[in-house]
């Protein structure tokens, strides 16, 4: 019998489609993948240790650096957790603006997902079209908070500054253009037979395995489990909007793409409803710059981040600084499913699986 030996190659941390420093050690038998072991930790900044020496208000900009692609979502998660811990009431207008900003960040994150998936499969033009559409959201963030990506726009008790006058027309025109944008992605990418051939049936994940491995967010919904924290455990004012949760059928790379594509449309609907109901009023509750939550109180608050369930577990010892702050990062947990979906596939499918699980290593390594 032909004597073959296994080959171990490293899809190194600097690989173009490594999403920020993921090192996958792939054990190959010819073209077939025997095992794919992800190694993380290359971008570890021990944010949780930093949190212990910063006051609650000072830590806000650090949370934007966790999932730097879903711009406002991690910051909203942290700020709501602290408000729950310290029992702070957020004015209506701030809640609505947070929903708008959160959903815009989700759309921007999903657009980058589609773009980076396209370039991982070789269609550089696909990436540039997605980045061009995402640029409109970046401009909106820039005009409201002054920063395109790492915008520390949320504050404990509300938001930093009110919306500039030119923001509302920009959002309305963007939301109106979403169907046209999706039709173009359909034409260029999804309709393309080569694209479908590279994604359909790749990296299958069953519903039980997904739940057992803690995979959440669009990756879980692609396996047919209709579980979205905005519906399951509504936080903020998400119970006032009606939107569906897109669900896939067989949990492969194609469904993970289609679920995110559908989510962009749903987020557009949420933004439209939020814009219609946007009340006037102040944008920030009276919160002292330094405040001390109750001793021994702890809270685990979780939101539906762009990559999955993003949770903050904060323990207070009565001081002005959090005693312990743990971030439950969806990318960190989703990556555990990478070996599961890659075993038995081909070498090129590892790239597809990494791209469709959409990990952000800044968040995974904290």
């Amino acid at each position: 019998m032909l004597q073959t030996e296994q080959l171990t190659i490293n899809i190194g941390p600097q690989h173009p489609s490594a999403h920020g420093g993921l090192h996958v050690e792939a054990v190959l038998d010819g073209e077939v993948v025997v095992d794919a072991i992800p190694h993380v930790g290359y971008v570890h900044r021990s944010v949780e240790k930093i949190a212990e020496s910063r006051t609650y208000a000072q830590f806000v900009p650090y949370t934007a650096r966790l999932d730097y692609l879903g711009t406002h979502l991690p910051v909203i998660g942290y700020v709501q957790a602290v408000e729950k811990l310290a029992g702070i009431e957020v004015p209506e207008r701030a809640e609505y603006i947070r929903v708008i900003m959160g959903e815009l960040s989700r759309i921007a994150s999903h657009q980058l997902f589609i773009g980076s998936l396209a370039i991982d499969l070789g269609a550089t033009t696909g990436l540039l079209y997605c980045m061009r559409d995402r640029e409109r959201i970046m401009d909106m963030f820039e005009m409201t908070s002054g920063q395109r990506l790492l915008a520390a726009y949320m504050r404990i008790g509300g938001i930093a500054e009110d919306l500039p006058p030119e923001f509302l027309p920009a959002v309305r025109s963007f939301v109106r253009d979403i169907p046209k944008m999706i039709k173009e992605y359909q034409g260029l990418l999804y309709g393309n037979e080569i694209f479908q051939a590279r994604l359909k049936g790749i990296g299958k994940l069953s519903a039980q395995d997904a739940i057992a491995y803690g995979v959440t967010g669009p990756n879980l919904r692609a396996c047919g489990v209709s579980y979205d924290i905005r519906k399951a455990e509504p936080y903020g004012i998400y119970d006032r909007f009606d939107f569906e949760i897109p669900v896939g059928s067989n949990g492969d790379a194609w469904d993970r793409l289609m679920v995110r594509n559908e989510e962009i449309i749903q987020s557009g609907r949420i933004i439209e409803q939020a814009l219609d109901q946007l009340p006037e009023g102040e944008i920030r509750a009276k919160v002292p710059r330094v405040f001390k939550p109750e001793k021994g109180k702890s809270v685990y608050h979780r939101i539906e981040g762009a990559k999955g369930e993003l949770g903050y577990y904060i323990v207070s010892d009565g001081g002005e600084k959090p005693y312990r702050l743990h971030v439950r990062a969806p990318s960190f947990v989703n990556l555990m499913a990478l070996p599961l979906v890659s075993r038995g596939g081909l070498v090129q499918d590892i790239i597809v699986n990494i791209a469709t699980l959409d990990p952000v290593l800044g968040e995974a390594d904290r």
Binding site: V40, G41, H44, S46, E48, K49, K84, I211, A212, Y213, G214, V225, S226, Y227, A232, E233, S298, V299, Y300, H301, R302, E309, G311, Y313, V315, Y323, R324, H326, R328, F332, V333, L335, M336, D365, R366
Partner: protein, 146 residues
Amino acid sequence: MSSQQAVIEDISNTWGNQIEVLEDEFFAGVKVPLQILPELFRKIRDEHGFNYLANLTAVDHQDRFELVYHIYSIPDNRKLMVKADVDHDAPSAPSAVSIWPTADWQEREVFDLMGIRFEGHPNLKRILLPDEFEGHPLRKDFQMKG
């Protein structure tokens, strides 16, 4: 499938005195001794349908470590918090990997940053820090040099 309250009753009848029910306005939870963790987890997973371990972390209270588990049941979304104390000098705890595979990396992270060994974990190695790193940064007594 039983409601949240029924789950806590069921747990407290089976273990009675060892259990201490925590009143927490956001999260229904129980404080349990370390040894009964595997049984408890298997019980709530099989009998009460808690199939999703969302978060597993540890808190260093200087005199003791405290393991915190946040467990949910998909899809009907009941939730339970389980806390367990681990003594500070030789911190070790039973691993939950055999019950929820998602615990694999989260336990490795707690071992890496906090230094709690998990018995029965398939490959307990550092996950975020380089292997030759000494010390566990998230411990209160870990002094940040410089």
